[in-house]
Amino acid sequence: EQLNVVGSWSSLPLHKAYEAPFWGETLPEASGGKITTQVTTHNEMNLGVADVFRLLGQGVYDVAMTVGDYAVSDAPELEGLDVPLVAMDAAKAKAAVDAARPMVDEIFANRFNSKVLAIAPYPPQVVFCNKEVASLDDLKGLKIRASGRMTAKFLEALDAEGVNVAFSEVPGALQKGVVDCAVTGAGSGYSAGWWEVSTHLLTIPLGGWDPVVTAMNMDKWNSLDAGTQELITDQIATKFEAPAWDSAQGALLNDIACLTGNGECESGDKRSMVLVEATDADIAKARDILEAKVLPEWAERAGADWAKRWNDSVGKVVGVSIASK
């Protein structure tokens, strides 16, 4: 069985450390040669991020993975997979994703003609600021570079201004004050040198955890025999999903240590950004905004049914609830 696999960003750790080895070696070996694969990434194919799952559904390739948030154009209900600021650590994020899994399965089956195989985390999206910031409230009035519709809406509700800047231009933009803060994974910000041009690191996941969904074209999935299906499901859960989640919290702590100089840094030299951790007041404030504004708006986009299902699953796990209208 030949599988054409399209991975997420080729330059990021999730692809290098987990996707590429799993699809390139682990799975073909575990199948005893029955499954062969050809692995590329969506950026190498020059695909627009919003097209990855559309084309998967049309059978242009067999397996694809990308950040779920990229596909919300076609499925507003998918925004519920990654609500910012509800999960402060990897364990909680994992619990939220697990709770959302049945919904995600259904969304992918209906909207993208695909079978979800796994959901793995990107590094949580933290905030680099070149302004003195001590709490969530201080973001008010600042210009912030963030991506994702729900994060943008959250910033709007916070009276901060969303600014669109390409990733490669962020250091210049922070330096010149085009933006005051920018959101990205702690590891990406460390390796891209954002610590040179920013002073404060807010470790609250303002951009959420950017879960990456791995899915297979539904027709392809149905054409596989039960044994192969089981093999893939087992292997991906134990050899891809689990290790990716296990390392998430450790990687986050390591990256924070590298950026702030507090603790052991395994990836290189320590830097000395000011660490700003979320206080209980911040978390409470975030919840207020989510419940009062951001989530009800999402419920309108996605429909009341999805809001209810979210309340009963993810909402229960993270302790947030959308008031019904």
Binding site: Q2, N4, S10, S11, Q38, T40, N43, E44, M45, N46, L47, G48, A50, D51, R54, L55, Q58, G59, V60, Y61, V165, A166, F167, S168, E169, P171, G172, A173, K176, G177, V178
Partner: protein, 427 residues
């Protein structure tokens, strides 16, 4: 698959099928013969997401800027003013061609637009003053290529966009090599015209008073350059947004010179639509071909090939340079960039080279491709502006300049700081 692509490309191109369409046809071929997957179904999304780009809108803006400068007469005045300053050199007016191209490069993001601008104002002079048409037109074609080296530059924007490299840094990096290249072009012209004086036409001296009087006509271009580049480095505008600053500035300057009318603007925007669509057909075709090639595994095949050669960093760079020179003969330049960047740049940066430096190196190679036959867009532009004569004359005339660019490649490899010093100093 590589022989198929090569033969198919050359064959279809020589049938005089439009270049953009050739790329689509090759994509269809790859889909049909080398892929188990229905890649054609990705075509529509490819067309949409390639053209739905806030980055690429810099193309029409820069083209429009050039159109306004030509149609308002500013281009002609600039040329006349520079003529007074440089025509005493052996080679005479040919230096004005290079100098005008250099000036316009500083406001234009595209080599085609730069060459077209200079060709439009310079060509009428060639016969009148008895210049050898070969060197005269070759200098325009070559000088025009500076449009993508001296900032602003659409190609550097595309490079930065595809490789996640800072575009302002790329712009800074292109400045010194661009100026050096312009000076080298003039030096080569002097050498050639000293050896064969008949090629150079008449050398003319102007009184100092006239020379100084001409400086005023250079002011508009200086102002425009300052506005575009200033907006970027002050952090007011992104490199793409700065193109709209250029359009606004050009309109303002044209208005001050009394050259704005509804008719002029209509002509300018119609010309812009034409050139933009021409370029975009090629870019979209290249994106689709690239998509089919990487889906069929050619990208990884190529990467493995390059990696398995086991060459050291320097040797790999030489191989890459060689590949670009050869491909540059046949492939249109933006498609050449779009198709090769995802394969080549990760390898090169993996070897420890600076992506900003490699971007500049690639631009020199791309500039070369613009003036090497059979597919050299600038040659066609200049030939298009001539009223008579054969295409091969322009090709011959451009050859010494192409050789100069090759030397520049060597210089950049030997002294990477030439590109990197400005970004480092101004960081």
């Amino acid at each position: 698959m590589i022989p198929f692509i090569t033969i198919g490309l050359l064959g279809l191109l020589s049938l005089s099928i439009p270049v953009g369409i050739v790329l689509f046809l090759l994509g269809f071929g790859v889909d049909q013969f080398f892929s188990l997957f229905p890649l054609l179904r990705g075509l529509g999304n490819m067309v949409w997401s390639t053209s739905n780009s806030a980055t690429l809108i810099a193309i029409p803006f820069f083209v429009l800027l050039g159109e306004i400068l030509v149609r308002s007469g500013i281009a002609e005045r600039t040329y006349a003013a520079l003529d007074k300053w440089v025509s005493w050199l052996p080679g005479g007016l040919i230096h004005a061609n290079v100098a005008t191209a250099t000036m316009f490069s500083a406001t234009s993001g595209s080599s085609v637009a730069t060459a077209a601008t200079v060709a439009t104002v310079a060509m009428p002079q060639a016969d009148r003053l008895g210049y050898d048409p070969r060197l005269f037109s070759g200098a325009i074609a070559a000088g025009g290529t500076l449009g993508i080296m001296i900032p602003p530059s659409i190609n550097l924007i595309v490079y930065g966009f595809l490789t996640q490299t800072s575009i302002p840094q790329l712009f800074l990096a292109g400045l010194l090599p661009g100026i050096l290249l312009a000076l080298a072009f003039m030096l080569v012209t002097v050498c050639i015209c000293v050896i064969w004086p008949s090629l150079g036409g008449e050398r003319r001296r102007f009184p100092l008073r006239e020379m100084i009087g001409g400086l005023g006509d250079l002011l508009p271009i200086f102002l425009l350059f300052s506005a575009i580049i200033g907006a970027i480095y002050k952090g007011w505008a992104t490199p793409t947004e700065a193109a709209s600053v250029g359009v606004g500035g050009a309109l303002l300057i044209a208005a001050m010179f009394g050259g704005v009318s509804l008719g002029m603007i209509s002509e300018a925007i119609v010309g812009t639509v034409k050139i933009t669509s021409m370029i975009m057909l090629v870019i979209i075709g290249a994106s689709f071909l690239n998509f089919t090639l990487s889906a069929a595994g050619l990208s990884s095949e190529m990467r493995n090939l390059l990696e398995n050669l086991g060459f050291g960093p320097l040797m790999t760079i030489f191989v890459v340079v060689l590949i670009y020179i050869v491909l540059g003969f046949f492939i249109e330049t933006l498609s050449l960039m779009v198709v090769t960047i995802p394969i080549v740049v990760p390898i090169v940066t993996g070897l420890g080279y600076d992506p900003v430096w490699f971007g500049i190196l690639m631009i020199v190679l791309i500039e070369m491709a613009l003036i090497t036959p059979p597919v050299g867009l600038n040659l066609y532009v200049v030939q298009g502006a001539r009223k008579s004569g054969n295409m091969s004359e322009v090709m011959v005339g451009a050859a010494p300049y192409a050789f100069t660019m090759l030397c520049m490649v060597g210089v950049l490899i030997a002294y990477p700081d030439l590109a990197l010093i400005l970004p480092r100093l101004l960081q």
